[in-house]
């Protein structure tokens, strides 16, 4: 045995030893002696058969596999036939018509386009939704024959903002918690003195048919500058200027920013846009006001209106305007209106039979309703999401 070990390779010796024992060909011991005369090398035969490409039974294959004498390899074969789209040249699908392939359009085959996906998002410029609504309202006013008032003056004196409108100096609106008063410029530099005198008179003791408020009117109060709380301040300036000339009827409007020193919440801001319309003519009545309001609001899509008596310091009668909102299925307050008091118009010098009817609405409210915005702070200001500005529809108010 030892001699055999020495003469043979160790791997050969090991395999040989187990195989001869298995087949009982040799008597194993110190001396190795033959037991059979002939040995058939079955394994060699099998391997030769495999080499020649013959098939073998599973158990033989397994035993050969176990001994790592063969390796199983997967062999894939394909049967190829000419299909219906067979072409001698390789066909590419076009995804687009291009300058390069335009002339060969007849031979082009287009890849199916996915119409279920959206198109390419575009680079575009955008207008702000609030200002889109403003433009539509401006057009509505112009179609109704109203002329725009110049409102580019945010700083106003209390005189034009309150006193000229017959709003008394002790009125709560003039308190600092509702109005932004100014430190610089703190007081107005000049006022039309003769007109101021007439306004002082009508506040203190009346006249023009009124018994007045009966209080001490203070010039210092009137002089105080503020950020205008309504664009009616501009309207009073315009009416005063109108009174200085031979009278012609006028229809004015404005849409611009006003300021309230109020707490900011979901529907209230310190600054917002007021829409104001006024008609100045001889012999106007509440009926005229209602008529103009019907015209105006029907253009905004609201044709059912109701009017509730209300109070404004400078209009009498005053009406709160309610419109029926078809979408919400209820009546909602849509604005405020009234006829300016004689104590406001007569000291200006307007003829006695001249009446002024006016109304005001906010710009933000219809914009929020139109664009489905819930919180006013999402509508304008620097915290607005730019996405909102980029994906809002054209405003069709006044068109249908």
């Amino acid at each position: 045995m030892d001699e055999l070990k020495r003469k043979l390779d160790p791997s050969v010796f090991n395999i040989g030893r187990s195989q001869v024992g298995k087949h009982n060909w040799v008597q194993l011991g110190k001396q190795v002696s033959r037991k059979v005369q002939h040995v058939k090398d079955k394994v060699k035969n099998l391997l030769l058969q495999i080499q020649e490409g013959m098939e073998l039974d599973e158990s033989s294959l397994n035993s050969l596999k176990t001994r790592s004498l063969i390796e199983s390899k997967e062999w894939k074969g394909y049967s190829v036939k000419k299909g219906p789209n067979y072409a001698p040249k390789r066909k590419k699908f076009a995804t687009d018509l291009t300058r390069e392939n335009l002339q060969t359009w007849k031979e082009l085959q287009f890849k199916e386009y996915n119409f279920n996906a959206k198109g390419q998002p575009l680079d575009a410029g955008h207008l702000h939704p609030l200002l889109k609504v403003r433009k539509q309202l401006k057009d509505i006013f112009r179609q109704m024959g109203f002329e725009e008032m110049p409102t580019n003056n945010f700083v106003e004196s209390s005189f034009w903002n309150f006193d000229a409108l017959f709003q008394p100096q002790q009125h709560p609106a003039r308190d600092s918690h509702d109005t932004f008063f100014l430190k610089a410029p703190s007081t107005t530099r000049e006022l039309p003195e003769d007109y101021v005198e007439r306004v002082k008179q009508v506040h203190e003791s009346g006249g023009y048919g009124s018994r007045g408020y009966n209080y001490d009117w203070k010039r210092e109060e009137a002089n105080k500058n503020l950020l205008r709380t309504h664009t009616t301040a501009v309207s009073s300036r315009m009416l005063y200027a109108l009174a200085k000339k031979p009278f012609t009827p006028k229809k004015y409007f404005s849409i611009d920013r006003v300021f309230r020193n109020e707490a900011v919440d979901r529907t209230h801001l310190a600054e917002f846009h007021q829409i104001e319309g006024l008609v100045c003519d001889r012999g106007l009545t509440l009926g005229d006001l209602i008529g103009v309001l019907h015209d105006f609001f029907s253009r905004l899509g609201m044709s059912k209106l109701r009017f509730k008596p209300a109070y404004n310091p400078y209009t009498e009668p005053s009406m709160e305007i309610f419109g029926y909102h078809e979408g919400l299925g209820k009546w909602v307050e849509v604005g405020n209106s009234g006829m300016f008091r004689p104590e406001m118009l007569l000291p200006m010098g307007l003829p006695e039979d001249v009446r002024v009817i006016a109304w005001g609405v906010s710009l933000e409210r219809p914009t929020m309703i139109l664009y489905g915005i819930d919180n006013i702070r999402d509508l304008f200001g620097h915290k607005v999401d730019l996405d909102l500005i980029k994906r809002n529809a054209i405003c069709r108010i006044g068109i249908e």
Partner: protein, 591 residues
């Protein structure tokens, strides 16, 4: 609109005064005609023959005057000069009358029935004792041409034939015969032609070939004869040579054949009213009697005056000038309309107008009212404008600019007017120059002041949209406020435009490009530095921008804005993580 060419000097002589060209144009303007062109006879010929020659010193100046299409009476110098003389009160309105002769002394025109197949109507008249010179003769021919072109509709409706009466013998006949039966020597020819041969002959005549179609396919051609069978004319083609008018002609026979009798009468009236001023007995026209086979007959010309009554209030209400009846009648007289006061049926003031035969254009009181207005002077009439609305230029410009900026792929924002004092100055690296409006009772620092520029609002918008995909391009066109001693309240608004680009790169050239685009849409040209006729850019030193990457925009010598890369310190103050470029312009300076 028809144009007539008349010699200037002849015209001024007829008007009785000379005018400078400007003065004459003014007269035309007030009357309602237009001096279209000033040229010379020879220049016209040169133009026709395409000759390039210098003008002679003494070439006769020709005025080409445009005449309204309904004023046949103005289509020749005689008619126009008379109208202007009457307008200028230099002449009374002539009264045209028929010569007082009995029917049996009148010339006769007998119409044969066959004419109804081709050209049914004829009217005639005689001008006695006229004296022609070359100019008058040419004018006479020109008027016929103008009438043929206009009211006669290129001779299809009416054709005029004028003849030397002394070469003819009445009575005349107006017949329609087969062309082969008509034979005569036509004008400008020496040999005689048969009518059908004449048609062929004229096929190559530039002037006459366009009239051939009017009769060429008819079995009978219209033709006028005198009692000796001399052909007066083959209307509407050509007159006979025998009766051609010369400068020596003393008595003129005019015949107008037509398919429209009303127009024929108007044409004849125009001929006789304009040229009867040359008759021995001025404005007197000798009538002719036209008789038909069926016994129907009429005397022509029909110089009947059209009488109409117009209420004074109709005139004064229409022109909104309160005039007395006498004023109206004297104005109408200047327009060749005889007028006299009358009282209408309901006792209102009225004017009775006698419209002469030369004014076939007057159909309705409105024609009378127009003439009153012309004589009064259109430019003297009082005006009344309907109510109309004027826009506010600053607001209109703002809206137009907003759209332009959006078209440059910028998104619009609307930011707060109220801000903190820091945001106005310190956070922008600026010194507080106390020019801002300060609020006395702010609830918090956020309500301390009014923005002095649009910059803080724009930067705060970027700061609040950090996650928005870049590049971010936003803009705002709105008011800022500042102290202003010239205003009654001591402060004023100013309209500003601001735009910002924020991205991986600052976009400085893009903001610069936007500035150029704004100037382009405002039609402000780019000019060299210090040129005050447009805009230029020059390096600036503002603290809110990066040094070396900022500039002022100077328009027509005034600085109206700045642009630049926003200073990193400023970006930091507003918590903006990416570079930005910014521009702010005073829009009111662009107005």
């Amino acid at each position: 609109m028809p144009t007539i060419s008349i010699g200037r000097d002849r015209l001024f002589a007829a008007l009785g005064e000379s005018y400078t060209q400007e003065e004459f144009e003014d007269l035309c303007f007030r009357f309602g005609i237009e001096l279209d062109d000033v040229t010379t006879e020879k220049a016209i010929i040169r133009k026709e023959k395409h000759i390039d020659e210098e003008a002679d010193e003494d070439e006769e100046i020709i005025y080409k005057i445009e005449i309204p299409a309904n004023r046949y009476d103005l289509l020749c110098l005689e008619g126009l000069a008379q109208a202007l003389r009457v307008f200028n009160k230099k002449q009374e309105i002539p009264t045209y009358i028929l010569a007082d002769i009995s029917k049996d002394k009148m010339l006769q025109m007998k119409v044969k029935p066959e004419t109804s197949e081709i050209r049914p109507f004829v009217v005639c008249a005689v001008l006695r004792g006229v004296s022609f010179d070359e100019a008058r003769y040419n004018s006479f021919i020109d008027l016929q041409d103008k009438l043929h072109q206009n009211i006669c509709r290129r001779r299809t409706l009416v054709a005029i034939g004028t003849h030397d009466l002394d070469t003819l013998q009445g009575p005349f006949t107006y017949e329609a015969l087969p062309p082969t039966d008509i034979n005569f020597v036509p004008l400008k020819q020496t040999k005689s032609f048969r009518a059908d041969e004449l048609m062929e002959f004229y096929k190559s005549d530039m002037k006459l070939k366009k009239f051939l179609h009017i009769i060429e396919n008819s079995p009978v051609f219209p033709v006028l004869y005198d009692s000796k069978r001399t052909v007066l004319s083959l209307p509407p083609i050509i007159n006979g040579a025998h009766s051609a008018i010369t400068l020596q002609t003393k008595n003129v026979f005019i015949e107008c054949t037509a398919t429209d009798l009303t127009k024929a009468k108007t044409v004849l009236n125009t001929m006789v009213t304009t040229f009867s001023e040359y008759c021995e007995r001025k404005f007197e026209i000798e009538p002719v009697e036209v008789t038909y086979d069926d016994g129907k007959s009429y005397i022509c010309p029909d110089l009947a005056v059209y009488d109409t009554e117009v209420s004074l209030s109709y005139i004064t209400d229409s022109i909104r000038v309160s005039l007395e009846v006498e004023q109206v009648t004297s104005l109408l007289t200047r327009m060749q309309l005889h007028a006299e006061p009358a009282k209408s049926s309901d006792n209102q003031y009225a004017i009775k107008v006698h419209v002469p035969p030369s004014r076939s254009d007057v159909l309705h009181p409105c024609d009378v009212m127009e003439d009153v207005a012309i004589a009064y002077g259109f430019n003297n009439l009082p005006t009344r404008s309907p109510a109309s609305i004027k826009p506010l230029p600053l607001n209109e410009l703002t809206d137009l600019l907003r759209i332009e900026i959006a078209m440059n792929v910028y998104s619009e924002v609307v930011t707060w007017l109220i801000c903190s004092r820091k945001e106005n100055f310190a956070m922008l690296n600026r010194e507080d120059d106390n020019s801002a409006v300060i609020i006395a009772n702010p609830r918090s620092a956020d309500f301390e002041a009014m923005r002095r520029t649009l910059m803080p609002g724009i930067l705060k918008t970027i700061g609040s949209n950090k996650d928005h995909p870049k590049p971010i391009k936003i803009y705002e066109i709105s008011d800022v406020a500042m102290l202003d001693e010239s205003k009654d309240v001591g402060a004023s608004n100013r309209r500003h435009l601001a735009a910002l680009h924020c991205g991986a790169t600052s976009g400085f050239e893009l903001i610069h490009g936007l500035v150029d685009r704004i100037m382009e849409v405002m039609a402000i040209p780019f000019v060299p530095v210090n040129d005050n006729t447009g805009y230029y850019i020059k390096l600036s030193q503002e603290p809110e921008f990066l040094p070396g990457r900022q500039a002022s925009i100077v328009v027509r010598g005034k600085q109206i804005g700045n642009f630049g890369i926003v200073h990193p310190q400023v970006l930091n103050n507003f918590d903006i993580p990416d570079p930005c470029s910014f521009v702010e312009i005073d829009v009111e300076a662009l107005l």
